[in-house]
């Protein structure tokens, strides 16, 4: 039932100064790319992608940006939160050689996708990008796997110096990438989308929109011609993105009013 199930926080992990992972026991089968609605009683209910899937243990990894994430950040082990979901479509893996690109907190949901894709025994490359070294996380987790891990920081404090999109252009020249999977700031994803179109590479990009019901009725998260990010998304293909004029241009706040996505 789409009603918050109350779970105890099993463990809390600091990833960076402002990013934490919270693990809890939640039975429902969940695939990478799907998300939960996380109820912080008395505060808010917000969407969060699954960042780790370990049988019945699921995790979310989030950055503090406002009230709800701050409360979540301050919770202690054994505190109670409500979970409903998983929602959305999740990734589906296609092709032979896969490239995953996580930018900022987008890394959170890219990590389990990489782990899941590796079960196919096909070559997997990953780009983890952030403004600066201190904002990176999940590097060790992914380096432990068979994926080729590339790192990019805007300021060059670690790995490649520059945007993930630039590093992407470099990698696709060297390797025959079939599909790119990405989550990060929408303008970053827009650049990657353009690269994919130009180079004829399939894309799966995870979009974020303001969410209320998460079950496809309130209309809050609709983009393009009535696509619901909570149902038909949050993962959209290059083909779908071609028809979504809002992509990289605007989103909507809680009132439904359009807000430009800053350039």
């Amino acid at each position: 039932m789409n009603q918050p199930e109350i779970v105890k926080i099993e463990s809390i992990q600091n990833e960076t100064d402002s990013i934490k992972t919270i693990t809890f026991f939640y039975k429902l089968e969940t695939i990478p790319g799907q998300f939960f609605m996380i109820w912080i009683p008395g505060i808010d209910e917000i969407p969060m992608s699954v960042s780790n899937i370990n049988n019945d243990n699921k995790a979310i990894t989030f950055r503090v940006v406002g009230d709800a994430t701050k409360s979540l950040f301050n919770l202690k082990k054994h505190d109670l939160i409500g979970i409903r979901g998983p929602y959305g479509n999740g990734f589906s893996f296609h092709g032979n050689h896969h490239l995953f690109i996580g930018g900022g907190t987008g890394i959170a949901m890219i990590a389990p996708a990489v782990e899941s894709c590796l079960l196919r025994d096909e070559p997997v490359d990953v780009i983890l990008g952030a403004k600066t070294k201190d904002e990176l996380f999940f590097i060790k987790r992914l380096q432990k796997t068979d994926a080729n891990v590339h790192i990019a920081t805007d300021d060059g404090s670690k790995g490649y110096k520059g945007y993930t999109s630039k590093l992407t252009e470099k990698i696709i020249k060297e390797k025959q990438i079939d599909t790119i999977y990405t989550c990060g700031p929408e303008l970053m994803m827009k650049s990657i989308f353009e690269i994919c179109i130009k180079n004829n590479i399939s894309l799966q990009a995870s979009l974020e929109r303001y969410m209320k019901c998460a079950v496809g009725i309130c209309g809050q998260c609709c983009i393009g011609e009535g696509l619901r990010v909570c149902i038909e998304g949050p993962i959209f293909s290059d083909k779908q993105l071609l028809d979504i004029s809002d992509f990289g241009v605007f989103n909507r706040n809680a009132s439904g009013k359009k807000k430009n996505i800053q350039p």
Partner: protein, 302 residues
């Protein structure tokens, strides 16, 4: 061949299925998508004068027998919403603009603007159960209803529907007040005031605590309201509440509805529900030898 065309006064509809207000109608794209399904019309989200975020999340949850929401009338404000309506191509169906205000003047301004945007009819939301100063708080008073409808009637030339709440002593009195004010149809029902408390955390789940109950559980309440209103007034009724299958539509129409709206049904069946309803209604009518859906309106009254 079975005919499903129906009329709400002079608004012709190719079939009796309308998207209810507040469901997939925040932007042009989603309404266009619904109009590509077998919906004859869509009602917009309820729009007010100014931008409103509505209530904080949680604003929605599923209950065992229905849905509970307290969106709190989020909307971008009438001026921003115009661009959405203008983007919809009316060829596929009609657009009904839903508006809410806290007094006569607000309703006047909103209705004129909506009409200018090109909607085919107006729905006055006098029944939202969970927004202070709006909706139900105004919609319990027959005189207030009468005044608002009368004023809107003078401001616009398109048909005016009045959406009423079941959370009242006597919905017939309110329907009569709307009719006397010049309403062209009554829409019934809005959601039923309800609450869910989470016993683990010992608090109501909705941020607004009280919400509106919709979906399957409320159908018998909707049917009763439509049946009662039908005996009280002469203008058409649009039935809403808990419709998920063709038989529910027939039941509403027999109770007295000339058309129906579907909201939570989209939760249960997806947006295909309009096509499903159409097929199920046609099948039932064929099996029972009815040619024209209009012959079924109000037949349960004898």
């Amino acid at each position: 061949m079975v005919s499903l065309t129906t009329c709400i006064n002079n608004l012709e509809l190719k079939n009796p299925f309308i998207l209810a207000s507040g469901i997939m109608d925040e932007d042009a794209g989603s309404m266009k998508r619904i109009l590509q399904e077998d919906a004859a019309a869509v009602v917009t989200k309820s729009i007010g004068l100014h931008e409103r975020n509505g209530h904080s999340n949680p604003t929605f949850l599923e209950l065992e027998h229905g849905l509970l929401n307290a969106m709190g009338l989020p909307n971008p404000g009438i001026d921003s919403y115009g661009s959405e309506i203008k983007k919809i191509n009316n060829d596929n169906g009609k657009i009904i603009g839903s508006i809410f205000g806290s007094n006569v003047e607000e309703f006047e301004i909103l209705s004129e603007k909506m009409q200018n945007y090109g909607v085919n009819a107006l729905e006055l939301n006098l029944s939202c159960p969970h927004a202070k100063g709006y909706g139900l708080e105004i919609g319990q008073d027959p005189e207030e209803i009468n005044k608002i409808v009368r004023a809107v009637k003078q401001s616009v030339s398109i048909p005016i529907f009045v959406k009423l709440s079941p959370n009242v002593n006597d919905i017939c009195m309110l329907a009569k007040a709307a009719e006397q004010g010049g309403a062209d149809a009554i829409v019934a029902i809005n959601t039923v005031k309800a609450m869910k408390i989470d016993i683990e955390t010992k608090r109501p789940i909705l941020a607004n605590k009280i919400g509106g109950y919709s979906g399957k559980a409320i159908k018998p309440i909707g049917i009763r309201n439509v049946y009662e209103i039908f005996e009280a007034i002469k203008i058409p009724i649009i039935g809403v509440g808990g419709i998920t299958k063709g038989e529910d539509v027939i039941e509403y129409i027999m109770a007295g509805a000339s058309a129906v709206q579907v909201g939570s049904g989209i939760y249960y069946n997806g947006i295909q529900i309009f096509t499903q309803l159409k097929e199920q209604v046609i099948k039932w009518m064929t099996q029972n030898n009815y040619q024209n859906i209009k012959e079924l309106i109000g037949v349960a009254h004898k």
